[in-house]
Symmetry: C2
Subunit: 123 residues, 2 copies
C-alpha cells in the first residue's frame, strides 16, 4: 500500500461519525445496510450521512449496491486488512516491539489458523 492511500484511509476513519458508520456496517457485514437505516441508527441527517459515505467510499472502505429504491452500503474488509498490514509493516518497531494483533477477542479459531500465512502483497 502506498503512503498516500494509507493517509486517505486513516483520514476517513479519523472522524467520529464515519468511524461509527463503518463500525455499524461491520456489524452488518457482509450484506450491509441501506443509507436510510444507517441514518436512522446513528441519528444523522441525510446530507451529512451522504457526505461521510462518499468519504468512506472514496477511501475504499465501503462499497455500495442498489437494491430497489435502496442503496446498500457494505464494508470492504480487504481495505481494512491492507491498512492493518501497512501499519504493522511500516509503523511498528523493527526491533522487539509488539504490534502483533495475532487474534481477535472472541473468534480465535479462524485467526489462529491463518497465523502462519505470510502477507503476500506487502512491499
Amino acid at each position: 500500500m502506498q503512503n498516500m492511500q494509507a493517509i486517505t484511509i486513516l483520514a476517513a476513519l479519523a472522524q467520529e461519525s464515519r468511524l461509527a458508520v463503518y463500525r455499524l456496517l461491520i456489524e452488518h457485514a457482509p450484506e450491509g445496510l441501506a443509507a436510510s437505516a444507517i441514518a436512522e441508527q446513528l441519528g444523522l441527517p441525510n446530507a451529512t450521512l451522504s457526505f461521510h459515505l462518499k468519504e468512506l467510499s472514496h477511501a475504499g472502505l465501503v462499497s455500495s449496491r442498489q437494491s430497489g429504491r435502496f442503496i446498500y452500503y457494505a464494508p470492504v474488509i480487504e481495505t481494512m486488512d491492507a491498512l492493518v498490514g501497512y501499519l504493522t509493516d511500516h509503523c511498528c518497531s523493527q526491533s522487539g516491539g509488539t504490534c502483533a494483533p495475532a487474534t481477535r477477542k472472541s473468534a480465535p479459531a479462524k485467526r489462529v489458523a491463518a497465523a502462519g500465512k505470510r502477507r503476500p502483497g506487502s512491499a
Copy 2:
C-alpha cells in the same frame, strides 16, 4: 481502547508530514531522533515540525526526552499496538473476513512466536 482515543490516534497519523515523522522515528527506535535531525531529514521548518510533534505527542504516539540542548523524540510502540488491536477487534468483519496481519514482511520469526498470544486488554 476508547473510540475517541482511536480517532485521536488515527487523525494524528492521517497527515503526510506526521506519518513521515512517525515512520522516520520507527526507523530510529527505540532511541529516537532529535527534533533538529527530524526537521533536517524531512525538510520541515522548525515551527511546522513542532506543531506536528505536539499532535503526535498528544495522541500518545511519540514520547520525548531532553538530552543536553536536544529533545529526542521516540515512537511509543504500545500506542500503535493498541491501535492495531482496536482496528482488528472492532473494525474487522466478525464472519469470515481476513484482517489478520499475522506476520511482518521481513522479520517473521518473532511474529510467529507471538502468534498464539491472546490480546489481553481488549474488551
